[in-house]
Amino acid sequence: MTPAQSSSDRIVLGLPSKGRLMDSARAWFADRGLNVVRSDSDREYAGRIEGIEGVDLALLSAGEIPRELAAGRIHLGVTGEDMVREKIPDADAAVRLLTPMGFGHADLILAVPDAWADVETMDDLDAVAGRLRAQLGRPLRIATKYHLLVRRFLRANGVADCLLVDSQGATEGVVRQGTAEAIADITSSGATLTANRLRPLVDGVILRSQAQLCLSLTAPKASAQVKTLDALASRLDVPALASVAQPQ
């Protein structure tokens, strides 16, 4: 359920409901003359957008926005590219990334213990996974919450004998706890990695992500809605929006 259900002539813009991502998104739209106004109580996930007609606002958790875009329940959304590519298996068929927004920078990287003096590359990681399999009869464990992206990356690099173990938070700590040998996680500065004596592999960048303005390719596009998307394209100076917002 989307908080704001659009009628057939309006479009819905989904924004992150809290945190730095929300503040940055609000500022980004404000710079372009559109003001996101929250309801009286900051706790309510409701608000409206001022400065343009025909746009409803949906405040959602950043992790829900990809799914709402893919399902066509919102037309536009702001979320990290990492979220889009992790949560939508066939992202390019469901969502168009219109423009990077210059905030929410985060790289999804694969990191190993500093003490693995012999491991610098994905090929090294694969070789070590083969040794673990041969010596201990078990795979090398990689802790992550980005299962889809990491699995695809491992496959593309021909890495075998790895097992993904789920870690939904404090992933950098799991190697110290002994529940995984390596991690794949978001890093912005690298400071947490260093503090945990982990080091990214030189070719272990899985995705360089930042916040993106995203267009749903599945949301309904009646003529009034296309007109609004066109108006937004020029207000936001995102030409890609005008060229893809064709009626169905």
């Binding site: 213990p113 693995w116 090929d123 070789a127 491992l154 021909g158 030189v202």
Partner: protein, 387 residues
């Protein structure tokens, strides 16, 4: 379209289902006549062994579910491993098994492949005459195809020749081991092979590690220990051991002629008789001879079963997409048609002698094959008029 099934509109009720059921019964009777007993593995299989065999990739290909008691389970993505497990739990070798039922595969978004389809198959376990068993399974699958055999296009390969070629390289055993591990990942295999040849200078970190090895045991231990603590399953000693191997590897190069030779072996393709000649011509050192002798005897055994063996298409790299095969491999490709979606191979199979060892048991000669009854019917005509 709830009445439709893999490749067959209307295959779940009425005439369409009757035709499919009759076809499956015909195939099962054929396998029974060959002495195979029925076996029926559970639909839900424990994940652990499938993960051990296939690695993380299987999670992308199989439907995974959770049970509070049994842990992670998978809808069986094929029959071979579950049948082998049943045999290892109490079967007596030699044995022959047959089975028929659905398997389930997750597909990439946008794929037209079905998530559920039927397989009917046969496995011959513990037969010491590998050449005869290979030919028998090939002929059984051809016969199981029935009418579809007339339109299917056979392809064959033999991974034993690749393993023999790897064994014949003038390279350290650990290099051969690295190549064997990636036979089923051709792109990675090539990268591993080329990394053994002429290569760029090592990175500064790698150069420092090699220098520490050359300075002696104490220097190496100090070098690694200075980097930080070690956690997880990997030991300090293993880091040192691989560092020593890397230092040794840095001093040797696999000659380009050896790399070219292996790639030439992998590239051999053509009618079997010509492919055999081409491989014989490449086998100056004799490393391939035992594998090629088996290839030659298998062609004779196939000929005896009414196969035009000399003309049978052979590709030395065929079967490298099918992890766990390690000998003869074959498939019967569906004819291409513009009027319907592409069909998968109508049948196929191969030898997997090493699989029981990977499951922690003694080696057991094993060869098997399957047909896809729904695809067979789709390839030979309309589905009983139910479409």
């Amino acid at each position: 379209m709830s009445a439709s099934r893999a490749y067959l509109p209307g295959g779940r009720i009425g005439d369409g289902l009757d035709r499919l059921a009759a076809e499956v019964a015909r195939i099962e009777a054929l396998f029974a006549d060959a002495g195979a007993q029925a076996v029926e593995p559970a639909t839900l299989q424990p994940s652990a062994e499938l993960l051990t065999l296939y690695g993380e990739d299987i999670r992308a290909r199989a439907f995974v579910t959770q049970d509070p008691v049994d842990g992670e389970l998978m809808l069986r993505p094929d029959f071979t491993v579950p049948v082998l497990r049943l045999h290892l739990q109490g079967g007596v070798s030699p044995a022959r098994y047959r089975y028929a039922g659905p398997v389930w595969r997750r597909q990439e978004p946008g794929s037209t492949r079905p998530t559920e389809y039927l397989q009917a198959g046969v496995e011959i376990l513990g037969d010491p005459d590998a050449v005869a068993a290979d030919a028998e399974v090939f002929a059984l699958i051809r016969d199981a195809l029935g009418e579809a055999a007339t339109v299917a296009e056979p392809r064959t390969g033999d991974l034993a020749i690749i393993f023999a070629a790897i064994a014949g390289l003038a390279a350290p055993e650990r290099w051969k081991q690295a190549l064997r591990r990636h036979v089923w990942r051709p792109a990675k295999f090539r990268r591993v092979l080329e990394a053994f040849g002429e290569r760029p200078a090592p990175s500064p970190a790698r150069a420092a590690l090699i220098k520490a090895v050359e300075q002696g045991e104490d220097a190496l231990r100090a070098h690694v220990r200075a980097l930080g603590p070690l956690h997880g399953a990997r030991s300090f000693e293993d880091v040192l051991a691989r560092a020593r191997e890397l230092a040794a590897d840095a001093r040797i190069v696999l000659p380009k002629a050896q790399i070219d030779w292996l790639e030439a072996v992998l590239a051999v393709a053509g009618p079997s008789a010509q492919a055999l000649d081409a491989l014989r011509a490449l086998d100056e050192g004799g490393a391939l001879s035992p594998a090629l002798d088996r290839f030659a005897r298998r062609l004779e055994a196939l000929e005896a079963r009414g196969v035009d063996a000399a003309a049978l298409p052979f590709d030395a790299s065929f079967g490298r997409g099918l992890e766990y095969y390690d000998g003869f491999t074959f498939e019967f490709a569906a004819p291409r048609s513009s009027s319907r979606l592409p069909l998968p191979p109508l049948g196929g199979g191969g030898r997997y002698d090493a699989l029981t060892q990977r499951l922690g048991h003694a080696a057991l000669p094993a060869v098997g094959g399957i047909v896809r009854p729904e695809a067979m019917i789709a390839a030979t005509g309309p589905a009983g008029g139910a479409a």
